[in-house]
């Protein structure tokens, strides 16, 4: 008989509202995630000089600007048929893994982490950085902050800017690394592997050793059997920077593996009349509505999906952590909240990959650029953003002026599954009209596990309002707007 609105959904990058419709018995009829955002990048890309796109599209998301910058730069390589030099490619991959590591750290400690580290039913004054300080100690929080800062400073140096990098050009990068700089980077690389290990240990100590949390992770409320999508290398191993797009079905079998040039054969986007976000799905299945299972084309991306599509991880410690996770949860893992764990495993991989790259002699070479000579017409590029598979596609005239652009953005790929998660969590957690603040936060948790970034998801729609919960009765009467201090 009530409608609940959680407005705004906090601690995620973007804006959103959760709307819950209750039936006469006081149970949840249906919960919706509403994203009120649109900016129209696909349109105003038209007319732009294509070499500006890596800087323009990074403004889709200031949380993962490097992901857009890189997807766009790779699209330029493709458009001009001009591969980056070996060194340029390695510099890009180095920057990219540094970015993944610090972005994941942000989520683990500041955005999603508080739910676990401080506790899902604690008060709102505590579920934030201040609560984290109380729980793990100020010096550990400072350690996280200073680690992120050092990583971001390296990307400032290599990319020009950390937020909205500028160094990506077709065929390479705009600046090399010199040996003094490399020494500095090596130092941070050493610290960062320690940091990633520390994070995994913390996660095990606080989360995995607590049965209550483990039960929460594996509870049906946070479980969906969907398809999963992510980039893999030629040996079906995790890769963030490059590879083929692999999709596995809910039983973990390969459903498809394709090159980015075929993306439109596999992915379509559904439009709903009540939100600005579009819902991608696997094209062959057609849109079946918000349901999971093998017949539904709903798929998921981001850390958990990436581990689900990977046969193994290419670095040693990450592989160990990956095996540990599978031995506990099986594979594929359908528990949404396991995204937090997968994120920590990926931090280990990034840190190890950074190590490999800084110790690679190629990285110091001054040959950082191939100069395009061909006439542009169409290009596509893909990377794994922290929040999932990210695809750019541009068509230009012969001067390299964009005529058309299409973008399939990380969070957007998860939109349908997020909608499922919220609906399911609400149904499980709100019973007989019993609604309390801790429960509402747990609905939000379902959402935050994806680390959704609605600046991304709705690059089509302009950034606006975070989240709310509105309670309606079945006749559509607004009964209540739940405040967090009920």
């Amino acid at each position: 008989m009530k409608e609940i609105i959680i407005d705004p959904i906090t601690r995620l990058e973007g804006h959103g509202k959760i709307i819950i419709v209750m039936n006469d018995e006081g149970n949840v009829e249906r919960a919706y995630l509403h994203i009120p955002e649109l900016r129209g990048f696909e349109k105003f890309a038209e007319g732009r000089a294509v070499e500006d796109m890596p800087q323009i599209t990074s403004r889709i998301c200031g949380v993962c600007p490097m992901a857009h910058h890189m997807a766009s730069t790779k699209t330029l390589d493709d458009l001009y048929k001009c591969k980056p030099t070996i060194t340029a490619r390695k510099i890009r991959e180095l920057m990219y893994n540094i970015f993944m590591l610090e972005d994941h750290a942000l989520h683990v400690y500041l955005l999603g982490g508080p739910d676990f580290i401080v506790g899902p039913t604690s008060s709102k004054e505590e579920r934030n950085i201040i609560g984290i300080i109380n729980k793990v100690g100020k010096e550990n929080v400072l350690k996280v902050i200073s680690m992120r800062k050092k990583l971001r400073e390296i990307n400032l140096m290599l990319g020009g800017k950390t937020i909205h990098p500028v160094s990506g050009v077709p065929g390479g990068v705009s600046r090399p690394i010199n040996s003094d700089e490399l020494e500095k980077i090596k130092q941070v690389a050493n610290e960062s592997i320690e940091f990633a290990r520390f994070t995994l240990k913390l996660f095990k100590d606080i989360v995995l050793s607590n049965d209550q949390y483990l039960n929460l992770i594996t509870s049906e409320a946070y479980t969906h059997r969907t398809y999963y999508m992510g980039l893999v290398d030629e040996k079906n191993r995790l890769n963030f920077y490059d590879g083929k797009i692999r999709v596995v079905d809910p039983r973990g079998n390969e459903y498809a593996k394709f090159d980015v040039h075929q993306y439109a054969e596999y992915i379509a986007e559904h439009v709903e009349p009540w939100t600005y976000i579009k819902f991608p799905f696997l094209k062959n299945f057609g849109w079946k509505g918000f349901v999971d299972g093998e017949d539904s084309g709903i798929y998921s991306v981001a850390p958990l999906a990436r581990l689900n599509v990977s046969d193994s991880l290419p670095t040693h410690e990450a592989q160990t952590a990956f095996e540990e996770m599978i031995s506990m949860l099986g594979k594929p893992i359908h528990h949404t909240l396991a995204n937090h764990w997968a994120r920590v495993v990926e931090m280990i991989y990034s840190a190890e990959r950074i190590q490999e790259l800084v110790n690679d002699p190629d990285i110091l070479d001054s040959n950082i650029r191939n100069i395009p000579t061909s006439v542009p017409s169409e290009g596509m590029g893909v990377v794994e953003a922290p929040r999932g598979t990210l695809i750019h596609h541009y068509i230009t005239d012969e001067r390299g002026v964009v005529k058309q652009a299409n973008l399939i953005v990380a969070t957007q790929n998860n939109a349908a599954r997020i909608a499922l998660s919220i609906d399911k969590a609400a149904k499980h957690l709100i019973r007989q009209g019993q609604v309390n603040e801790g429960l509402l936060n747990m609905v939000e948790m379902a959402f935050r596990a994806y680390d959704p970034c609605h600046a991304c998801g709705t690059h089509t729609l302009p950034g606006n309002m975070p989240f709310a919960m509105y309670i309606y009765d079945t006749n559509g009467k607004l009964l209540n707007i739940v405040k967090h201090n009920l």
Binding site: Y32, G160, V169, V271
Partner: protein, 328 residues
């Protein structure tokens, strides 16, 4: 509670980079948190809009708002924050002048909706469903409010009164820190002031400034597509359209240090009424030809003049009525 200043952060049509920029204050953020009470910050804290509604008018010492105004809902929230705040600061290029999403003002709302929801190659929308533009949507029998997509993107000061501006896309941590100190100092500058950044041009703080000739003259505009800039010479003198001469300093020439031209994210220097107009004027004047045909030829090679000179400021441009008149 106590008499510490109360601070709110809010984002409109933002990419979130401005929020990250605040987080990039890193250790300093803990100092800030200990000096002020944050009463609203959706990205980082669990306070809801209803908490803001419950505050008395003018009780927030300062609200920092980033992102441009693109949805009806943004207008509502910023008006609420204005009512509850003593000071409002436009934080970042989007809030100050519209920013990169402001390039959308070249196109009408209808063209944007059509592209996004009907014609992109992956959109599967046979029934031609559009997000509702009449204020609400129906979920079964439940009607929910859905904000409308405004006809154009507006900078913050076209919707509410703005006291101060912090430039940059995003503002750097140094600029943010300077601005916070200005606000906390108790000696408030004149209303309308740009705070935190420099009052001199970017060239002034650029490491390549000493290699910039007194009078720059070039034979052609180069593009980074097929030109690899040298790190030892002023980029403008190399022929790249670097906007340092008309851009406010404060970032330390970040892009130039990465061998890429300044695109103007710190916006206009004082006394410039129209950033793009000024940029256009200076770019044209360095083109070293006297004859009309040659001038035309070189200009025709520029791929995107509006995106070059108005990358961050199109919604603030004096071209506004011209744009409105030609939008479909």
């Amino acid at each position: 509670m106590n008499n510490r200043p109360k601070v709110a952060f809010y984002w409109c049509a933002s990419c979130g980079g401005c929020e990250e920029a605040v987080v990039d204050l890193a250790e300093k953020i803990i100092d800030v948190v200990s000096l002020v009470d944050i009463v609203f910050w959706p990205v980082a804290m669990d306070y809801k809009l209803s908490d803001v509604e419950a505050l008395p008018d003018n009780s927030i010492t300062v609200s920092f708002i980033n992102g441009g105004i693109r949805l009806s809902e943004h207008e509502k929230v910023v008006r609420l924050l204005r009512q509850k705040s003593k000071l409002v600061v436009a934080y970042g290029a989007c809030a100050c002048w519209g920013g990169i999403p402001g390039l959308a003002n070249q196109y009408s709302r209808e063209e944007i909706l059509e592209r996004v929801y009907l014609t992109t190659p992956t959109t599967a929308n046979p029934e031609k469903i559009m997000p509702p533009q009449d204020g609400y949507a129906k979920l079964g029998d439940v009607k929910i409010e859905v904000p409308t997509f405004l006809p154009e993107l507006k900078p913050l000061d076209e919707v509410i009164d703005v006291d101060y501006y912090i430039p940059g896309c995003p503002p750097t941590p140094e600029v943010t820190w300077n601005a916070i100190n200005v606000l906390l100092s108790g000696k408030l500058p004149d209303k309308g002031t740009v705070i935190g950044a420099s009052n001199r041009s970017l060239c002034d703080e650029c490491p390549l400034n000493k290699t910039k000739p007194e009078n720059v003259l070039i034979k052609e505009f180069k593009r980074v597509v097929n030109y690899s800039p040298r790190a030892d010479t002023c980029l403008l003198a190399q022929g790249l359209p670097c906007l340092g001469p008309v851009t406010r300093g404060g970032c330390g020439a970040l892009c130039v240090k990465a061998n890429m031209p300044c695109t103007g994210c710190f916006g206009p220097l004082e006394n410039i009424h129209d950033y793009g107009g000024k940029a256009l004027s200076f770019l044209a004047s360095i083109l070293d030809y006297e004859n009309e045909e040659e001038i035309k030829r070189e200009i025709s090679k520029l791929p995107d003049v509006s995106g070059l000179i108005y990358k961050y400021t199109l919604p603030k441009s004096l071209l506004k009525n011209l744009l409105r008149s030609v939008r479909k």
